[in-house]
Subunit: 358 residues, 2 copies
């Protein structure tokens, strides 16, 4: 297929995923060679590579490439693919650190990086501490490498400046979002707005809005399109996270790759729980307060919580919020009137991000 | 004073430090404004700003600017000052994370960032965990911001590419150095070479060699000068760290700002200790093995260790290694024949880095 796709053609998103993965594989293979030459510990690069290989939907890189198409990007795809791939390495960094902070045991149906490394250093004095510290550094390297991918994309000075402006903003926003999450993390209350603010910063910008803007910046687009992508990306990003929160409680681990008790054990401050607390009667409130956040919460407890989430209408409420955001995004797309191929891709991605299977 | 300094003039290194600090202050003030506009937690930017304000010799930024002069850099100093300042934010990131991993209580005569934040969140469920996690994120932001400073330096595409190539290498090397440190951290043995390898990666490149190369890249210098700066920077960087190790045991806390028991309590794998173990008789070995690495090590224990370090000749041996490296650096300078002003500055910095006061 040629780029940009002719009218009636579709953007081959599976192809984009494969090309992004090829960029990541080649880049990390070069990092492994460098590490071997320098005699660096051999496990670091494979830990990052295996994390990437274990899954992930590459939603941000795909959005980045689609944003590039929507902005009229055409011709040589070396630069846009490297920029897109750099987003996935950034996500890798953020998730490795997130898993350390939450002390999560599994991600993508595999042990988390700090757990894998703790196992590797089982004979050390303090293997768990060692695993967390080593994972912290491996995460830092993923961040540093994500920037190296961007720096070696071959952009001219103007585009590089525009791309970095978006990327630097994206990265700082995600960190502030994680920070807010941390602060709000052990406050479990009915403040739906506070829970939404965490979503907005931790996920919404970094998942949809900024990746689209990043692709547009590679194509040399101006501020008007950046604004359209804000209007499109924030509701979609929120919907994506709201869906994720539902999956974190109602999802089937064999299909999501994520345990469905962790969010409840952590007492993760989600819109779903805030909404349930707001609507709960005294007995339902007592159930939630007694069970959510218990480290030893079991499947029976989770079932009782799920019943409250259903009967208070919180689950339905979150579904409605997702639908409202999906519709808002479609209206933005209607108005923006992108070329047929990126328009179709954006509609498909909007649907996929908001209507994911349980 | 004009730039570049005329023959006989000196580079005003105090002035460079002040200008770098002014760049950092202005940059962080803009970050504080952005954070306030977004309603982000207000403590994050001040935590980073206060860490910078509490001290640090700005040795890397100064070397970066001197490297620029040595490479013939002249005229507008906006770009070189931003690049130099970005190094200090990178160091801030690395030290904040290092202090989390070592769980150090103080740095620069103040509580470390994770301890400060733990105190701030004393009423949370797990304040220490909270402090470490918040400091982790503040450190990540310092890294992200260090890159933003670089990205906004206004370099053309060729220089940006050269500068990023050095900077990406520097950052990854420091992370691998910390990783090696971690792995070797609780092995306390007489392997002087292994201890030196940690020094080489963790400190030597990132402290002298790469900052000089970074400045040279801003000035558009080629690979020949990069090689000279490797030949100059590695021995000086090693000498700098060897001096630091001596200060960590023999230094006066009121002048170094660092406690002088921490390295011994940690059992930090230094060349100094490896050398002492190698040269110690059975009784001295027993003393070192019994005391080094004890979390409850007191001033009396430290005195007994210091006696062993003196009588085995380990302290003298490390002094000799420092002197040998200092001389090697001077020979490189003799051959390189830089212009008088950068030459004088490099000699002054070489002396300052290796002969720091106890």
């Amino acid at each position: 297929m040629t780029y940009p796709p002719a009218a009636g053609e579709r953007i081959d998103m599976t192809g984009v995923r494969e090309q992004v993965d090829a960029v990541l594989e080649e880049f990390l293979a070069s990092k492994a060679r460098e590490a071997a030459e320098c005699g660096h510990p051999p496990e670091v690069v494979p830990v990052v590579r295996d994390f990437l290989a274990a899954g992930g939907k590459r939603i941000r890189p795909v959005l980045c490439v689609v944003g590039w198409h929507a902005a009229g990007g055409r011709g040589e795809r070396h630069a846009i693919l490297r920029v897109a791939a750099s987003l996935e390495l950034f996500v890798t960094f953020a998730l490795i650190h997130d898993d350390i902070m939450d002390d999560s045991a599994t991600r993508r149906s595999r042990p988390t990086v700090h757990r894998l490394l703790a196992k590797r250093y089982a004979d050390h004095r303090r293997p768990e501490r060692m695993g967390a510290d080593a994972a912290l550094l491996a995460g830092n390297l993923a961040l540093i490498w994500s920037r190296e991918l961007l720096h070696s994309a071959g952009l001219d000075a103007d585009r590089a400046r525009a791309v970095h402006a978006v990327d630097d903003t994206l990265q700082a926003e995600v960190m502030f979002g994680q920070y807010r999450d941390l602060l709000g993390g052990d406050r479990f209350d009915e403040d739906v707005e506070a829970a939404l603010a965490i979503v907005r910063y931790k996920t919404a910008g970094g998942t949809v809005q900024r990746p689209l803007q990043l692709g547009a910046a590679v194509a040399g687009a101006g501020p008007d399109l950046a604004n359209v992508f804000t209007a499109l990306g924030l509701p979609l990003g929120e919907a994506f996270q709201l869906r994720d929160d539902l999956l974190g409680v109602f999802g089937r681990p064999d299909s999501t790759g994520k345990p469905n008790l962790d969010d409840l054990r952590e007492g993760k401050r989600t819109v779903l729980l805030a909404l349930a607390l707001r609507r709960a009667d005294a007995e339902q409130q007592a159930t939630l307060r007694a069970l959510v956040g218990r480290a030893d919460l079991d499947e029976g407890d989770a079932r009782r919580i799920r019943v409250v989430l259903e009967t208070t209408g919180a689950r339905r409420g979150v579904e409605d919020m997702i639908t409202a955001r999906y519709r808002r995004a479609l209206r933005v797309l209607d108005e923006a009137a992108f070329a047929p191929a990126p328009d179709a891709a954006l509609r498909e991605l909007a649907l996929a991000a908001t209507a994911r299977e349980v």
